[in-house]
């Protein structure tokens, strides 16, 4: 009889997976534009709303989005936000940071980004912001080309102007 050993409780078995992503026509156009520092949206043919990034189909109406691309401003409004103090290994930002949902001028959908050059005590709904781009030689096919958004100094947007985007 061998001596009883401690039970084996937990084993680590790492698995790795790299995904390959086929962008498709619409997203490819968006990515090629952002590589050149341009933000391209596209209109839904049913209600005319501008989706950013441009995408192949409208999630609400289930129809192809095929119209001409719409170039958007790199300014917008913070429609809502949270201040994050929780670390995540997938996120390369110093804590705490303000994760903001920005409605770009001319767009009808919001995007997630991070706020910079602003104390987290000052961030608020309705705050006007503008993109701060990375140096041109660092641009890739990624929204990371925008380092962060910073306050633009314009007066806040009224709640009514963006409340339907929360």
């Amino acid at each position: 009889m061998s001596e009883e050993k401690e039970p084996v409780e937990v084993l680590r078995t790492p698995v790795e997976l790299d995904y390959t992503y086929s962008a498709g026509v619409s997203a490819s156009r968006f990515l090629r534009a952002v590589e050149q520092g341009k933000l391209l949206g596209q209109r839904c043919p049913v209600d005319g709303r501008v989706y950013f990034p441009s995408r192949g189909s409208c999630p609400q109406h289930g129809v192809p989005i095929e119209g001409e691309p719409v170039e958007l401003s790199d300014r917008g409004t913070i429609v809502t936000f949270s201040v994050n103090r929780v670390p995540s290994e997938n996120i390369d930002l110093e804590l705490p940071y303000a994760a903001i949902q920005v409605l770009l001028d001319g767009a009808d959908t919001t995007l997630f980004h991070v706020l910079g050059e602003c104390s987290i005590d000052d961030v608020r709904m309705g705050m006007r912001v503008e993109a701060v781009w990375r140096p041109r030689d660092e641009w890739t096919i990624s929204m990371q080309n925008i380092r962060y958004f910073k306050p633009s100094g314009e007066p806040d947007a009224p709640f009514e102007s963006y409340q339907e985007h929360i």
């Binding site: 839904c44 990034p53 997938n90 994760a99 903001i100 949902q101 959908t109 987290i120 929360i166």
Partner: protein
């Protein structure tokens, strides 16, 4: 006319931060055997097995219907897996009930689980996407901006969420299966806990739990032989919607409003606040209690917080919510929806022990998932529909 579905057996594990005393299979067995015992049945009496779990990346287990078939007595029987993100426990229960209601099977075992200790949900919920910049950390990172939106539009007092958190943790003290038993829970303790995802405080969030839940569902004729009075399924509903579209109301999605309307219509309920005796709802962050009180039409838009504030949702209120302690006290994600459904059934069977609502005849079980885009609900009653 559909067959009636009765709930004749209910089981769950003790939920805890680490159940390393059991494997995933062992965890499920613990819940399933309790459900069988409650029904005074054996594995042989089960015709089919339906299993639900959280998204695959959470635990690295992609085919639970294969991996866990033997442990759940699924060999040579129909076995299937359901997947609707965080609402999965609820939709798993609904799929199982449908198999009875459609007359396909007479007794179905439904089981759902999660071992968060074997997973990294924060990582799985923060996967970088090719179109966007990774800033959303975990579920809290996604839902905190929506909570802020609700606070702004409703004008709810800032301590509404604190009150929900205290109430649910107090209820959990009466539930021996709950993960969190915080004897020292108080308003000040929650209020002074750190902001994790401002405006959500640490003690306004759910814990990470290991746990499982199982139920035995039965056709009307076999339910008549059950040793304990069955709970009867009066109505079920599921709805989904895209995570994102222009003008989407993320705070109060159309999906939950449509779900509530369909659910009550099927159950013949015209005044849910009055006709439902208690509700167990998926509230992973405290502010979702007032939000889903509005979503499930218990309160007018922007007035759900008044129910919390006036004590209506407390154990002695007119519509107790989350008698078990809710998701805020136990969150094995894959099982959390089924636990809500099970608590509703326990209540109308009079089996809820110290957290029993006296004389509960109709109860709601509710689950939601994804970016507030999947909704699963059922109403169960002590009487046949």
């Amino acid at each position: 006319m559909a067959e009636l579905c009765g709930i004749v057996g209910i089981g769950q594990t003790k939920h805890d931060s680490k159940r390393i005393d059991v494997s995933m299979a062992g965890l499920l067995r613990e819940a399933a055997e309790r459900a069988l015992e409650d029904a005074e049945l054996t594995w042989r009496d089960i015709d089919a097995v339906v299993i639900g779990k959280a998204p695959d990346l959470f635990e690295g287990v992609m085919m639970p219907e294969l991996f866990l078939a033997d442990a759940l007595g699924g060999a040579y029987k129909p076995m299937l897996r359901v997947h609707t993100a965080g609402s999965v426990g609820g939709s798993t229960g609904i799929v199982a009930a449908s198999l009875i209601q459609a007359g396909i099977h007479d007794r179905v075992l439904v089981a759902a689980f999660e071992k968060q200790s074997e997973s990294n949900a924060m990582w799985a919920l923060s996967i970088p996407m090719p179109f966007s910049v990774a800033v959303v950390a975990g579920a809290g990172g996604f839902f905190a901006p929506l909570v802020r939106g609700y606070m702004r539009r409703s004008g709810a007092p800032e301590d509404t969420g604190i009150r929900v958190a205290v109430k649910d943790r107090e209820n959990a003290l009466k539930n021996p299966y709950a993960h969190l038993h915080m004897e020292d829970i108080s308003f000040d303790l929650v209020a002074s806990s750190p902001m994790l995802w401002d405006p959500i405080r640490y003690l306004e969030t759910c814990p990470s739990s290991d746990g499982a839940c199982a139920m035995v569902l039965s056709s009307e004729s076999l339910a008549a032989k059950a040793p304990t009075r069955p709970a009867w399924v009066h109505s079920t509903a599921m709805r989904s919607e895209p995570t994102m579209f222009s003008g989407r109301d993320q705070v109060m999605p159309q999906g939950i409003l449509d779900n509530a309307e369909a659910l009550y219509k099927k159950a013949g309920i015209t005044n849910p606040r009055k006709e439902i005796d208690c509700a167990e709802m998926y509230v992973p962050f405290s502010w979702f209690e007032p939000m889903w009180c509005e979503g499930m039409l218990f309160a007018e838009p922007n007035e759900g917080w008044k129910m919390t504030y006036e004590g209506a949702t407390a154990m002695d209120g007119d519509l107790p919510i989350n008698m078990s302690g809710g998701v805020l006290s136990s969150n094995p994600i894959g099982a959390s929806g089924l636990l809500r459904f099970a608590e509703a059934a326990l209540q109308v069977r009079g089996q809820a022990g110290d957290h029993q609502v006296e004389g509960a005849k109709k109860a709601l079980g509710h689950a939601y998932g994804g970016g507030s885009q999947y909704f699963s609900t059922w109403i169960v009653g002590s009487e046949k529909p």
